[in-house]
């Protein structure tokens, strides 16, 4: 299901490319796709919902198979797959920036500032991965480089490529439901003051940490410690991996608590 939704996401994304303007006035073109172009709303919400379904089902997939290591998958293969998962999340986050509204703009500013906080190489990394302020770099990473990389890395993992009709139907149904009920919550128009702006759901925890810790600790050291532990866990010691599983559950619960308003 993860791969099927990824496929649907890629197909709908390819259709969005025709009308999206990466140079300037991103938000205007997104609004035009949503409200003016016939069935643009459907393509856009399908792109959004299918990527969400992909993210969540990847987590489910890891929770189901990641702990037991069935079928004797080699450790290097698991390493590669987890790296691919990270790339999928990065791709989603870049899409969130490309949305071009206030949330996207803030996400861009925050990620630029976070990257430039890394000592010595931060500015260099920021310029290479996020460009010089326009969305063009992010656009090319999101639309071309990352999807191609993800598919190349998944080549050996995916045994058969198929698109079940119930997945397509389910995603389209979910998208229509989402459009009918929540589309007014989806975009935060530019120039309007909002009391609180939240990041995408897997960044709620980091947003919470950023309020209470130093930027370098919350945005760079804690996440990179987690990833180092994760990859050490895969390659050397399973106990580190178990610790990472528990940590990510705690992280998600804390993030949801922050979003709901229980944690401040």
């Amino acid at each position: 299901m993860a791969f099927q939704s990824l496929l649907i996401s890629v197909i709908s994304g390819l259709m969005l490319v025709f009308y999206y303007n990466p140079i300037d006035e991103h938000f205007k073109s997104v609004q035009e796709i949503t409200y003016n172009i016939s069935f643009g709303w459907l393509i856009r919400t399908v792109h959004y919902i299918s990527s969400q379904v992909c993210l969540i089902s990847v987590i489910g997939h890891i929770a189901k198979y990641g702990t037991f290591n069935p079928g004797g998958t080699s450790r290097f293969e698991v390493f590669k797959l987890l790296f691919t998962t990270c790339l999928i999340y990065v791709c989603f986050f870049l899409g969130y920036i490309l949305k071009g509204d206030q949330e996207g703009l803030f996400a861009l500013n925050i990620s630029q500032n976070l990257l430039s906080q890394i000592p010595y190489i931060g500015k260099f990394l920021m310029k290479i991965f996020l460009g010089d302020g326009s969305n063009l770099f992010i656009y090319s990473y999101h639309c071309y480089i990352l999807p191609i990389l993800i598919f190349l890395l998944l080549k050996r993992h995916v045994k058969e490529i198929r698109l079940a009709s119930w997945t397509i139907g389910g995603i389209i149904g979910l998208s229509v439901f989402y459009y009918e009920n929540f589309i007014h919550l989806h975009d935060v128009p530019l120039g309007v003051q909002h009391e609180r702006v939240y990041g995408p759901w897997f960044f709620w925890g980091i947003q919470f940490l950023l309020i209470h810790l130093e930027v370098l600790w919350a945005g760079v050291i804690v996440p990179s410690l987690f990833f180092v532990l994760l990859f050490i866990g895969i390659l050397l010691d399973v106990r580190a991996l178990r610790f990472c599983h528990i940590m990510s559950v705690v992280y998600m619960i804390a993030g949801i608590g922050f979003r709901v308003g229980l944690l401040r």
């Binding site: 310029k127 290479i128 010089d132 302020g133 702006v197 950023l210 309020i211």
Partner: protein
């Protein structure tokens, strides 16, 4: 032949080739200038200060001079909300708050707001230039 060296000739060539080829690619990506933004505030707008225009805040300070502040949070760069009644800026992302003279009231931000350079042109309009 293999036992004498750690890496063989083919591998060494590969490493050299990749590093030579990656240099132009990285410098190609690294290129890019900071864009300079310019905001013009007309005379009419200057009469009723304070003014908020394109995330720039213009006000008169204690010495009756015009002071221009960037409305970007110094913590991580979100655009600040201006609260007219309480006369303060609040960050919607992580909750920092600033006075209208730019000083920090509440964290996580630590540095006060960036003061921007401004100058009058010959028509009496205020021109603010800043990068980013």
């Amino acid at each position: 032949m293999d036992s004498k060296y750690i890496i063989n000739r083919r591998k060494a060539l590969k490493v050299i080739l990749i590093s030579v080829a990656s240099f132009p690619v990285i410098s190609y990506l690294y290129h890019g200038n900071d864009r300079v933004k310019e905001i013009i505030i007309t005379q009419e707008e200057l009469y009723n200060l304070p003014v908020v225009k394109q995330h720039v805040f213009i006000n008169k300070n204690v010495h009756n001079e015009i002071a221009v502040y960037s409305m970007k949070c110094t913590h991580l760069g979100c655009n600040l909300n201006y609260d007219k009644q309480k006369e303060l800026f609040v960050c919607p992302c992580h909750g920092s708050a600033f006075n209208i003279d730019g000083t920090v009231i509440r964290g996580p931000a630590k540095i006060s707001l960036l003061k921007l350079k401004s100058e009058f042109d010959n028509k009496g309009n205020l021109i603010v230039k800043f990068s980013g």
